[in-house]
Symmetry: C2
Subunit: 200 residues, 2 copies
DNA sequence: CCTCATAAATGAGTACATTCATAAAAAACG
DNA sequence: CGTTTTTTATGAATGTACTCATTTATGAGG
């Protein structure tokens, strides 16, 4: 048995390199053509690996999309958390979080909708799925914190209201009604709904 | 050119019979095994039609599920609309609508989730999809009416709040978190969220 | 260095939804 | 009726995500 401390070993290095190539290839191809227009074979070819190898690194095409997109959402949410700190009102704070997520989600609308679809309907046990859920949970947690700032809501009610806001954002982003809308229009639509929810 | 008035003609009769056989077969098989465990071939065989014929009557397997389920949801909503009329409070009225839908949706949980998934993410141009959207739009309209009963909300705000309630119901039903829950637990969860939304 | 055990990679194979060229049936027309 | 046109039915063929028996690479022990 070898000590796992110092060197990662060639095996580990190879694995990491392959994962990097896969992530890079999938990100490029998905971003360029949309998840439905890209075959797993094309990704495998672009990453220079065998057909089946791909599925050792992501158990499904959906997982591959989550793997690629999670990073982008994490960045968007980081920005949103910062912006929410100096918002004047709870509504503005919520929207400071919503805006970067909307922007991220709609960079490629088809991918954005598929990402949401898989988060809700995919297998929550899959590794990248789990990570995706953790990432959006951060937004929910931030909503709770925002809603409690002025002390008018109990912790329980704040949690429930936060879930409602998340649901509103989810459905607004997923709905085909907004396929042709601008990001701004989607944000405005969400803001209007949240405004009514917050009106105490 | 023949007058289309009097007799339906053998062609029309055959078509109707086939559609009936397809609907019956799909309803049975989906209900028994769940949509993912049934192949379109099995449905075609059960309906005693050719492989390709199925897709003349429903453009996709998803459309077939919508075709079969729309009827059930329409019935559930009809019951809900009646019950909502003699509810004491807006919250009770909303829940009178929610309960039959939850019951219908969760008769077979996998089918229920797939139904919601296809309604939101499927092609809204497909005929049965369109009908499904019209059916759930009734629920949304009913929410608007309920919310305006006491006159404390403008029409616009009522519409926005109704959409939020719909979003809450959708996400609560779709979420894997409720895979193991009872119908009652799901209803309670939705009720809690709606209660917070309605608290002015 | 050699041998064996274990992990990783591979691509031919599978399953299944959907399509499409062709055939059969029905209607229209004389 | 027979002919032509239009609609409907069919199942073999297709495309694609995913699996799995087999091969190959890596590391451990001697």
């Amino acid at each position: 048995m070898k000590v796992p401390s110092s060197s990662p070993g060639r095996r580990e290095r190879n694995k990491q390199q392959k994962l990097d190539r896969i992530t890079e290839a999938a990100d490029q191809l998905f971003g360029r053509f949309g998840v439905d227009e890209v075959t797993t074979q094309q990704i495998a070819d672009a990453a220079d690996i065998g057909t089946g190898t791909l599925f050792l690194y992501a158990r499904s095409k959906a997982e591959l999309l989550l793997l690629v997109q999670n990073t982008h959402y994490a960045e968007a949410i980081e920005a949103g958390l910062l912006a929410a700190d100096d918002a004047a009102s709870p509504l503005d704070a919520v929207m400071a979080l919503v805006e970067p997520v909307v922007e991220c989600n709609r960079r490629q609308i088809e991918n954005g909708r598929t990402y949401l679809r898989e988060l809700v309907f995919g297998d929550p046990e899959e590794p990248h799925h789990r990570i995706g859920l953790e990432i959006i949970q951060q937004v929910d947690d931030a909503y709770v914190e925002i809603l409690q700032r002025d002390g008018r809501l109990s912790a329980g009610d704040a949690a429930l209201l936060a879930r409602a806001i998340s649901a509103v954002m989810f459905v607004s982003l997923a709905s085909p009604a907004h396929l042709q809308s601008t990001d701004q229009e989607v944000c405005d639509d969400i803001r209007n709904q949240v405004r009514v929810l917050l009106r105490p």
